[in-house]
Symmetry: C2
Subunit: 312 residues, 2 copies
Amino acid sequence: MTQRIRGVLSPVVTPFKADLSPDPQRFTAHCRWLLSQNCGLAVFGTNSEANSLAAEDRMSLLDGLAAAGLDTSRMMPGTGCCSITETVKLTSHAVKHGCAGVLMLPPFYYKGVSEEGLYRHFSEVVQRVGDSRLRIYLYHIPPVAVIGITTGLVERLLKAYPNAIAGMKDSSGDWNNTKVFLDAFAKSRFDVFVGSESFLLANMRSGGVGTISATANVNPAAIHKLYTEWQNADADEQQAKLNVTREAFGKKYLMIGALKQGIAIYADDPTWARVRPPLVELTAGQAQSLAAELKQIGFTMPGLKRAATVTA
Amino acid sequence: MTQRIRGVLSPVVTPFKADLSPDPQRFTAHCRWLLSQNCGLAVFGTNSEANSLAAEDRMSLLDGLAAAGLDTSRMMPGTGCCSITETVKLTSHAVKHGCAGVLMLPPFYYKGVSEEGLYRHFSEVVQRVGDSRLRIYLYHIPPVAVIGITTGLVERLLKAYPNAIAGMKDSSGDWNNTKVFLDAFAKSRFDVFVGSESFLLANMRSGGVGTISATANVNPAAIHKLYTEWQNADADEQQAKLNVTREAFGKKYLMIGALKQGIAIYADDPTWARVRPPLVELTAGQAQSLAAELKQIGFTMPGLKRAATVTA
């Protein structure tokens, strides 16, 4: 059995052109830079504005990354849609590209659905994809999707599909919830990624495998350093530093707009600030505050500008 | 300017084959029966499990209705997706078919989005569709979509696009909310449909134009009768009777499963009971209870069985 993906992954932010279509060139450049920082690519996550993209957009961007020679075994595309049909289409496409796994939202339109209904949904997806290479990471993000992943659901799915159900991303923001899943399933080859690097050290100490975090778009090297050095004496200190950077991006602003603004600043490329409705970019005043705060904490994105130039 | 659609519309339930693909034959038969009962077709609504369908499924089903000769000027397809791209594709398709309008959900993945962001989303859709025949009915259903339609948003959209923004469906279940929109916009050619016939009489008395209601799938004639006779002396009595039927379907069961089970019973066609995950059909026990309760209140679906036979 091949080694499963672990460590630090970024829900890669998606750059847009003036007509709001995805910008494959900037996207590929950013992905290449992230890989150079030991950061895996959880493309098409929440921070990627993936649900603001059509299925065709996602497939075309992934095709572009593969065509550019980026390592698909370092990728975990988001493929969970409200419909089984579209989820299967995106998932099969990712599997055929040799991706390490897929990050799968539950169907998130209907609320108050039963565990039985969610089980049937995921079960149908696994069976329809019908590929032994399939590795699903269940995506628990109740603040956004509202519909969540329960331990009862994981237990049933693991029993039925022990190879396909590979783990989860917990973006509940609630460490107690993560701990429940770790205690229940970490020994059953169920790999738990935390949805924020602020829980990375706690996750590693409790049997987790890493983090898939928004801020990995801008601070990948430092997060990866803690991932590899979590047993070192200065681990708590490293964690505290990561938290400062995360707060600078996420505390006062909508995270997605702030991440893109950060890249716009450090790549010296204003185009990066653009988001798709219903999101809005940072105001000019917010962008200035963010720049000042990042400067104050000594934040840098080494090699980002060069990476953009090389690809362009 | 052509007459706008008014009255009673049904968010048409979508029948599925054993492989969970939509069943165009049964779908068309049900739509034909609804039209024969003076009920318009709000195909691809919440009760249609539309968000459990791929965009291609929706377009193909609508093509089928048009090809079968059903009157598209009596149709208001649901076209609101999380992405602008897919919303525009479905909306343009409906407009080209000569549909009376489209029922448009706000983008419902991201939560806590701003009015400005939602304005940009709808504005972008109107401009991209770029067709003077476009009539958008904004779909307010916070219990499911979470993201709602505010008076501030309607005010801005009406000002910018007075022809394209035609009205709303209010499925908040809160009459006070409906009244706020009626008071603010009914005089501005903004047509308010209530999302449940339990508010039909109140809506007509306050300047509304009808209802788009789940139960219209099974009880269209009686609902339409109140719509035409709301100024009659027995209007309150009619309303009370409608409420009894609605409660039989919606009080104890998930509405979608109960509606489909009801059609399965009265069309003598068990296939109709099927739903797509993440929903689950009624249990055998629930189906029996529903049948008994419907019998007890003297519920009928006149002509349904014959309509199915004619089309098949």
